[in-house]
């Protein structure tokens, strides 16, 4: 039985990583896109601008397509929670399952109002129509909070006691508000705006590089890019908040993020490098950097990996590399945001250089990479635990034979699904009459 669990651990983790990593991109659109679409619709009505209205309608349809892809991938995740991790759900379902119940309601409401919003495009007054998007925005953000609350609980489990290896005094509401919940939620919320904003803007940047520089494309670039540009510096501040939270509650995760072995004071911030023989080699070091970052004191103490036995340490290189990639991508996006902000302030227009369009064209991918590596940092950084300090991932995985095949099946299905989603979105961009999934098809 135990041998089965040991064999299943890696494939199960990969299947979960793939399923979540795919779903999360679409979740970002579920969280942030409705705001951008409704903002555009509102401006269109305020200015009586048909180009903006056309843009908003196209985006609304794209939102429907992305929502459908997010919905089906979310369904798989709710099965996988029980199929892959029964050892987590059995003892702790009553403690941290509760936010998923709330998320069930939030998602249901979102699905209903996405249908109403798309269907009502030409059938409601502008005012009523924009109001019908309000539940989409609220339930999208609320849904994100609930899912993040569950994840934050895995990082900092609260709301129960262990007695002789059994869970007692489960408090499902208290479990939702551990120390990681708020910083993680805000971090994700802002990330959703960055991913959505930069990705949508990058589509129009590519169009403009191909000499389609009409007002439609300029609006299509500028509106989402503005949202993302505002979000980027905020994310920098939130990053500081979350780093101090991690340092306080999960010091070993922070040590892995930084490749720090020895506990000490006045610790430098390390960029790049490879962790070999308990040392980070060939890294660029910024003196006192890490101590300043997490304790806001150049001589502050930072705990290293040595504080726990080797079998309780996460895989350092994966976490360190992922974390550095996230920070690197975030910093690059910050430069892009500063460039746009500066030019807009001085000249009240977007930068004329083709390099600005080229940078914007890749900003979407950069934002997705930043978000995915951020998730790798927090998830791999929690290893070997699935519930930090309490339950090991190896003890939570299902020992059932044949689990390993699931990964390949999921990989194949998501490959097809990715191609399909891209084909449909491209069609939508080319022909604005294309129907969204939630719309009625004209009866032939």
């Amino acid at each position: 039985m135990l041998a089965g669990a040991a064999e299943n651990l890696f494939p199960a983790r990969m299947q979960m990583a793939l399923s979540l990593g795919w779903h999360i991109v679409f979740s970002c659109f579920g969280i942030a896109f409705p705001t951008i679409v409704v903002f555009t619709e509102w401006r269109a009505h305020r200015r009586g601008n048909p180009i903006l209205l056309d843009l908003a309608h196209t985006w609304a349809k794209a939102m429907g397509v992305l929502f459908a892809a997010g919905a089906v991938s979310g369904t798989l995740l709710s099965f996988e929670m029980g199929i892959l991790w029964p050892g987590l759900m059995a003892p702790f379902g009553e403690v941290y399952g509760f936010p998923f119940v709330l998320e069930g309601f939030a998602f249901f409401l979102e699905a209903i109002f996405v249908g109403i919003y798309l269907f009502g495009w030409d059938r409601m007054s502008p005012r009523a129509h924009m109001l019908s998007a309000l539940p989409i925005i609220v339930s999208g953000v609320a849904g994100a909070f609930f899912v993040i609350a569950a994840n934050a609980w895995m990082n900092n489990p609260t709301g129960f006691r262990m007695e002789n290896g059994r869970v007692v005094d489960a408090d499902p509401v208290g479990a939702m508000f551990g120390p990681s919940t708020w910083p993680q939620f805000v971090h994700m919320l802002i990330a959703a705006y960055m991913v959505t904003g930069y990705l949508v803007a990058s589509v129009y940047a590519v169009g403009m590089l191909r000499c389609r520089r009409d007002r439609y494309h300029r609006f299509g670039l500028l509106i989402p890019l503005t949202f993302a540009t505002v979000a980027t510096p905020i994310q920098l501040l939130v990053g500081d908040w979350i780093a101090t939270t991690v340092a306080e509650n999960q010091p070993v995760k922070l040590a892995a993020m930084e490749g720090l072995f020895d506990t000490g004071r006045g610790v430098p911030l390390s960029l790049g490098g490879i962790f070999l023989n308990d040392r980070l080699q060939w890294a660029l070091e910024i003196p006192w950097g890490l101590s300043l970052l997490v304790t806001h004191d150049p001589n502050g103490e930072v705990i290293g990996l040595q504080s726990v036995p080797p079998d309780l340490r996460p895989p350092v290189n994966v976490v360190h590399l992922a974390y550095n990639t996230m920070v690197g991508m975030g910093s690059a996006l910050m430069l892009l945001a500063l460039w746009l902000g500066w030019t807009w302030w001085r000249k009240h227009s977007i930068p004329g250089s083709p390099w600005f369009l080229r940078a914007t064209a890749v900003s979407g991918v950069a934002a997705v990479v930043a978000m995915e590596t951020g998730w790798i940092t927090t998830e791999v950084g929690r290893q070997p635990f699935i519930v930090y300090g309490i339950l090991r991932t190896a003890d939570a995985v299902s020992p059932a034979p044949g689990i390993a095949l699931g990964f390949f099946a999921v990989a194949a299905i998501y490959a097809v699904l990715t191609v399909l989603t891209v084909v449909v979105l491209r069609r939508l961009a080319r022909s604005h009459d294309t129907a969204a999934p939630q719309e009625l098809e004209p009866v032939p």
Binding site: G82, I83, A170, S398, L420, R427, L440, E441
Partner: protein
Amino acid sequence: MTLAEVVLGVMFVGLIAYALFGGADFGAGIWDLLAGGTRRGAPQRAVIEHAIGPVWEANHVWLIFVLVVLWTGFPAGFTPVASTLYVPLTLAAFGMIARGAAFAFRKSITTLPMRRFLGAAFAVSSLVTPYFLGAVVGGVASGRVPQGIAKGDVVTSWVNPTSTLGGVLAVLTCAYLAAVFLCLDALRDGHPEIAEGFRLRALGTAAVTGLGGLVGLFVLRADAPQLADGLFGQALPVVALSVLAGVASIVLLVLRRYAAARVTAALAVATILIGWAAAQYPYVLLPDLTIADAAAGQPTLVAMLVVLVVGSCVLVPALVYLYRLFQHSERITP
């Protein structure tokens, strides 16, 4: 009635809603599969698509709701099922992905080969997904899911007489529900000849489903005696009601009273599920895991009940509004 029973009851209402709305969706996909060649089947497929188009996502969220309530409120009942029956559950999840994505995306695609591929994916997954879900029910109902994590056989827990019966009945029930529902939709869309076709199919599937149920009683006697005893014991009134509702909907279909037939057909299906629950009460997992054993602690159940009540107060009006909006539009647009 204990608190745990109330929460489980609310979950079961969600399960019935899934069987009715999601089931009719699956059934519509099955009729899509059987509608014939690309050209000949086109008018029927249009009616089907028109009927389920706008609400397809909403119908399947019921299942997610059932899952999350189970793993939070009844983890000791949920995890044995999820881990032992992971094969049919995974396949059902894949079916839902294929079905949902294909249905959602095919209206955005106009090239014929691509549409055919998506149409086929939609139709085939509509057939196999309810089979796997029915097989899961069969595995649970015949007591093949022992307590603990992955303690049951991962193959025979869903490849067995009761699971086969469950799967076949699930497919037939979906097809039957959809045929009954689509009669009215086709009539509303102004296609009385298509409505007539669905009426005959509804009558045919009603007969086959009834026959299947009859044969099923013998299968259960042999393969799931504890459940069979319950069905003929404490659940007998519910089973009788189901048979009565089934007969009534056949009569109503013969008389072409489609709206009334919808109600009795839904009642017949709901009472099958309630009959199953009543037959294995008070056990969540046969032979011996009771509701009380499987339930989470008091604070979790209270929190869930509050959310379920408050959430329903928000959700139900929104859902009713959605259905009314689309039904209304069908009448005003030709």
